[in-house]
């Protein structure tokens, strides 16, 4: 096996599980997610030299997976409506903490760029720099989006009066 192929296979064994989880959120079935995972690596194989040059191969692969998933959604003409809610229905956790329902409603209202950034950080555990690589935006923008998202959700959870009293004094 050639060196790039061996390198790609090593990356596959290392990152396929998390990429598959990421892609599963963008595909209607697990079979589709598996196909998308293969498509991601076939696409990655076209750019061996870029994998070698990438500061973080993991972030680079997430970026490829994101593009592959976007192309898939375009093909299927499906829009990513409330993707965070589609696979998070957990009756037990909702019963245990009523704030979860409130939070899910707030997540649904969150603008797509903020939600995607939050998802990549919280769900996929990507660093700020990796998220910046995946989304093709500056690290500062990642940070400000993430801060805005957490603050918005936090304000939704806290009753209005309490929120006003806990605002920082200038």
């Amino acid at each position: 096996m050639s060196q790039p192929a061996a390198h790609l296979e090593a990356l596959y064994h290392e990152h396929a599980p998390e990429l598959l989880r990421y892609l599963a959120r963008n595909a209607p079935t697990s079979a589709d997610a598996e196909d998308l995972l293969h498509d991601t690596f076939i696409e990655a194989a076209r750019f061996d030299e870029r994998i070698e040059e990438a500061a973080s191969p993991r972030a680079w692969l997430f970026g490829v997976a994101r593009n592959v998933a976007a192309a898939f959604r375009r093909r299927l003409q499906i829009r990513r409506a409330a993707p965070l809610l589609g696979d998070v229905a957990d009756a037990r956790s909702s019963a245990a903490d009523p704030r979860l329902e409130q939070l899910r409603a707030a997540l649904e209202k969150l603008a797509s760029p903020f939600r995607e950034t939050l998802e990549l950080r919280i769900r996929d555990d990507l660093s700020y720099a990796e998220i910046a690589d995946v989304l093709g935006i500056p690290v500062g923008t990642v940070r400000s989006r993430l801060h805005a998202a957490i603050k918005t959700l936090s304000d939704e959870l806290v009753p209005q009066s309490e929120s006003q009293s806990s605002e920082p004094s200038p």
């Binding site: 096996m1 192929a5 790609l8 296979e9 596959y12 064994h13 396929a16 599980p17 598959l20 989880r21 599963a24 959120r25 697990s30 997610a33 598996e34 995972l37 293969h38 690596f41 076939i42 194989a45 076209r46 965070l84 696979d87 998070v88 229905a89 957990d90 956790s93 903490d97 704030r99 979860l100 939070l103 899910r104 997540l107 939050l118 998802e119 950080r121 919280i122 769900r123 660093s127 700020y128 940070r143 993430l146 801060h147 957490i150 603050k151 959700l153 936090s154 959870l157 806290v158 806990s166 920082p168 004094s169 200038p170």
Partner: protein, 164 residues
């Protein structure tokens, strides 16, 4: 501490993106500022709740990582190599086609029609008022025609008579 800076640090810590040494310093600061500590706790609680609301994937139990698609990747690579080989040939073929088409479709050169000198009747008749007749110099003063000058070498003067 600047409230905006503090807020950013609290949010970074809640998101789990604060370096350990900075987190330690922040904890020391929050120990002395309980109001700010409450705000930090609120952000951390929010992130914990987001984590609970967004588990890795509910379908993860059904997900099994398929085998590495070595054959498909190799097929894609060989297709790419083929295309890379064919590309210069395709470019050469296009250039050849363009050249041939250019030769066939090119318009013929726009050559000027040969000028024919027509002597006016008056000049031919040699009437007194005919301009050509009046302007024709006597044979001795006429310049030599270009065809009657011989210049065999740049080292010699041109000699009249003969053709060059």
């Amino acid at each position: 501490m600047n409230p905006k800076t503090l807020d950013a640090l609290l949010l970074d810590r809640a998101a789990g993106a604060l370096p350990a040494d900075v987190a330690q310093l922040l904890d020391a600061y929050l120990g002395e500022h309980p109001a700010d500590a409450i705000r930090g706790l609120r952000y951390s609680t929010t992130v914990d709740l987001i984590r609970a609301a967004l588990p890795p994937a509910a379908k993860s139990a059904d997900l099994r990582v398929p085998l590495f698609p070595a054959k498909r990747i190799e097929a894609a690579r060989s297709r790419r190599r083929w295309l890379a080989t064919l590309r210069p040939l395709a470019v050469a073929a296009l250039i050849a086609i363009a050249f041939v088409l250019g030769q066939k479709l090119a318009a013929p050169p726009n050559r000027p029609e040969p000028i024919t000198l027509v002597m006016a009747e008056a000049a031919a008749s040699g009437g007194i008022w005919a301009y050509p007749a009046a302007s024709v110099p006597p044979p001795s003063a006429r310049p030599l025609a270009a065809s009657s000058v011989r210049w065999s070498s740049p080292l010699r003067w041109p000699q009249p008579g003969g053709s060059s």
